[in-house]
Point group: C2
Chain length 271, copies 2
């Protein structure tokens, strides 16, 4: 099943994909839908067809957006680090997210880098969950680009200030339920800059898979429906290039996960 928040003539709407296109769900967006319903209910709750509907940011109001760094063996090596015994975690905000076809507006002069990622969407409350419970709490998967302001990320020991710029992390276009996609078996995560492939990784090589990440996070904080966990990025980021290469004004950066779709963002610098 594919779920989304879509733009319609009468405003945004949670929606489920059927053979003939998007159908309305009883909520203004997928954050609100997941707060009130399970994904399993979506088929029975599907209403009118929504011709011309276009996916927006699927989850506009997650209470928590938690990211895992250093989770693909090749990216870890590229950053000059050792394989971790625990996930490296940091936070973003709902404000950090932006839709699947975005212009990312940033001040001129920042070192803006790309990080294509598989993102996990939480479907039920979990706290102190084991692996099995955490896996069962996954509502679905979507695509993220953890656009990172490297100069700010590296100003101090804590990455947060380079990771939480408003409207800088594209997410979407749809949330695909676990019956249709299995990241443990493996899906390809890729990133292209102006059409040139820069990243390619497979989620089967994740050090910590989706269920492991949700279980780990739930040890210290509750996760709720609509919360999002980014699973980390494969090798090939701009910071790892020789010399380091960052995004320029007008650059088009696309992140894709097989079985889900792709998200595109254009970088716009202002003075």
């Amino acid at each position: 099943m594919r779920l989304a928040t879509v733009r319609t003539d009468s405003g945004p709407r949670a929606a489920v994909w059927r053979e003939d296109g998007w159908h309305a769900l009883p909520a203004p967006d997928l954050s609100a839908y997941l707060a009130a319903h399970t994904t399993a209910e979506a088929d029975g709750l599907a209403g009118d067809a929504l011709p011309g509907a276009v996916p927006l940011l699927p989850l506009p109001a997650p209470g928590k957006v938690i990211c895992c760094g250093l989770n693909y063996a090749d990216h870890i090596t590229e950053m000059g680090r050792e394989l971790p015994s625990h996930p490296t975690l940091f936070a973003k905000y709902a404000d950090t997210l932006v839709g699947p076809d975005a212009e990312i507006r940033l001040p001129d002069g920042l070192d803006v880098d790309w990080e294509a990622e598989l993102a996990v969407v939480v479907g039920t409350d979990i706290r102190n969950a084991g692996r099995e419970q955490a896996g069962a709490a996954i509502a679905g998967y979507t695509v993220a680009n953890d656009i990172s302001i490297r100069d700010w990320q590296n100003r101090t020991l804590q990455w947060f200030q380079g990771k939480a710029w408003d409207a800088s992390t594209p997410l979407g276009p749809v949330v695909v339920t676990p019956d249709e996609i299995d990241p443990v078996a493996g899906v390809e995560v890729t990133c292209r800059v102006n059409g040139v492939e820069r990243q390619r990784g497979n989620t089967k090589t994740l050090v910590f898979d989706s269920a492991a990440l949700l279980a780990y996070v739930s040890t210290f904080t509750v996760l709720r429906p609509g919360d999002v966990v980014l699973t980390g990025t494969p090798g090939g980021v701009g910071m790892g290039m020789t010399p380091p290469t960052y995004l320029a004004d007008g650059d088009l950066v696309e992140a894709e996960v097989t079985g889900i779709g792709s998200i595109a963002a254009t970088i716009r610098f202002s003075r």
Copy 2:
């Protein structure tokens, strides 16, 4: 002016302190009050007296709780680091906060440390604010204890997972408006464990003061009424003792800021 969220016989309530005690404000808590009103309006909006009212967690629903580490020169030295050119920032959640007279329940075996701090409460939306605008956006100040799970904090490069345990950061008891307290001129921040003073610092020694922190954060993300920024902790944390000393089951840890008040928490370990 002193503002709080108080417990009353008819449930929690935003309140303002007058000579004869707490008076009701037109909101269920201070988060809701600040979302709808300014602190300057509180005097005119004050309603019935609330006899027997007791301060609770003043801000139960901040969208952002952002913390500054390494901001007192003596604490920076104690941790073996150099004076920073930029604030070191990390995130907590509304879920991380707990009231001013709390039991903090954690699993047995964690290295639980104390960090008494001055916390700044945001009063108006700011983004890309300069120092003056950021200073004018301060609704008031309160006390925080950035209780830190050091073993988790130090598992990876990112501190977040040791800083965001649910209901582990006491905050309160009241929010004091800037006309009554001036942290730039200096207020004392202290921490006592079972009555023994462990930390004492003065906010006049902060590397980045409240207005500077709000302005800096607003460069990358919007701050809204009711958001909270913790300004860092002075020297004297348990991790800096020889040998490192952490909190035990039943320990009482108190954080105090002169001119605001004190918050107390009892540590309760479970198996």
